[in-house]
């Protein structure tokens, strides 16, 4: 319940405030969002499998975001930022898809 409220509050805040992304954060924000989505889907799957632990979720969420940002940062320094960003998005996308498939199996048995 409180999670739904927080999501609605976050969307509303983003729409109302319309903040501009700081220039330093611009390469990292999209990757961080994708990484957080991956953590979120993993958390939902764990919850459905009744092995959800909020401490694990928080750590994996933050860790995912930090690692993704670090990889992008390193890629930028090495001159392969674009390729590494694409790679991260591909890997995280595959994980999101497999998590979503597991969630679907739990909810619909299909």
């Amino acid at each position: 319940m409180i999670v739904l409220l927080a999501v609605v509050g976050g969307v509303t805040a983003g729409l109302v405030l319309q903040p501009t992304v700081p220039l330093d954060l611009q390469p990292y924000l999209p990757i961080a969002v994708v990484a957080a989505l991956d953590a979120l889907f993993g958390g939902v799957r764990a919850w459905l499998e009744q092995i959800f632990n909020d401490k694990v979720f928080v750590v994996s969420f933050i860790g995912n975001v930090l690692v993704a940002s670090l990889i992008v940062y390193l890629g930028d320094k090495l001159g392969v930022g674009g390729e590494l960003s694409t790679g991260i998005v591909v890997v995280l996308g595959i994980r999101i898809f497999s998590n979503a498939a597991a969630i679907r199996r739990h909810l619909f048995r299909a």
Binding site: M1, L5, A6, V7, G10, V11, G14, E49, V58, R109
Partner: protein, 253 residues
């Protein structure tokens, strides 16, 4: 990933979701909720900033370089097109200006030639020579002398008693009095209208022993010269197309 689901029925999962949504939030859910809210906020912000700038600000530098190279190549092509079109335009404008100038010159030439050949009326400063002759003593000789004298003095257009006088005009005595000018019979008084410098024309006629002296010396004849700032030579002459003569290539004067 490949672990088998633990529940036997999908209905269990839905029931758990409904229970969780209805349940009082525990202390441990607050951190999860905060992270989810943060994620939603970042998602909306990123989507919005991406939509606002057409994706250019979030593009990477090498992508931007590719876009820039594309655009500058296109700009170069467009610039070369612009210069080609501009040169075409200036060529066309120069051509039309040359055509207009040639047309104006040709019109001026045609007007000059029309006045010389007597196909249009002419107006300008000049003199009117009136020759009276009560006894038929003025012959064609005297009139031809007068015409020649006026031509020498720079006459540009002439008419004699309503007949245009041009280069080919002939004046001959007619039997039984009067003269024929280009075949038209005219009688005294003869009226010669001349366009030219009035002072020069009048003094050419009035020189001692000249035209006026000769005519007034004839019995019963008189000559009156009137200068005027504006006389009109209105008699016209039909243009005859040469049957044999054709223009030969020459350098224009």
């Amino acid at each position: 990933m490949s672990a088998d689901p633990q529940q036997g029925r999908p209905g269990d999962a839905w029931r758990r979701i409904a229970r969780a949504v209805r349940s009082r939030p525990g202390r441990s859910q607050v951190a999860v909720a905060a992270l989810c809210g943060l994620l939603a906020f970042a998602l909306v912000t990123q989507a919005h900033s991406n939509a606002g700038t057409g994706g250019l600000t979030s593009a990477r530098s090498d992508d931007l370089l590719t876009i820039l190279a594309d655009l500058s190549g296109r700009a170069d092509r467009l610039r070369s097109q612009v210069s080609a079109l501009q040169s075409t335009e200036s060529r066309l404008q120069g051509g039309s200006a040359g055509t207009a100038a040639a047309l104006t010159e040709a019109r001026a030439r045609a007007q000059t030639l029309a006045i010389l050949t007597g196909t249009v009326a002419a107006r300008g400063p000049g003199v009117v020579l009136t020759v009276t002759d009560s006894r038929g003593s003025v012959r064609a000789d005297e009139l031809v002398d007068a015409i020649e004298e006026l031509r020498d003095a720079g006459a540009e257009a002439m008419q004699l008693s309503g007949v245009r006088v041009v280069a080919s005009t002939a004046v001959v005595d007619a039997p039984g009095g009067g003269v024929r000018v280009d075949g038209t019979l005219v009688h005294a008084p003869y009226r010669l209208v001349v366009i030219g410098d009035p002072k020069t024309l009048a003094s050419a006629l009035a020189i001692p022993g000249g035209v006026v002296d000769t005519i007034t010396g004839l019995p019963g004849a008189g000559a009156i010269v009137t200068t005027s700032p504006s006389v009109t030579v209105s008699a016209l002459r039909a243009l005859t197309t040469p049957r044999y003569a054709r223009p030969a290539p020459t350098n224009s004067p």
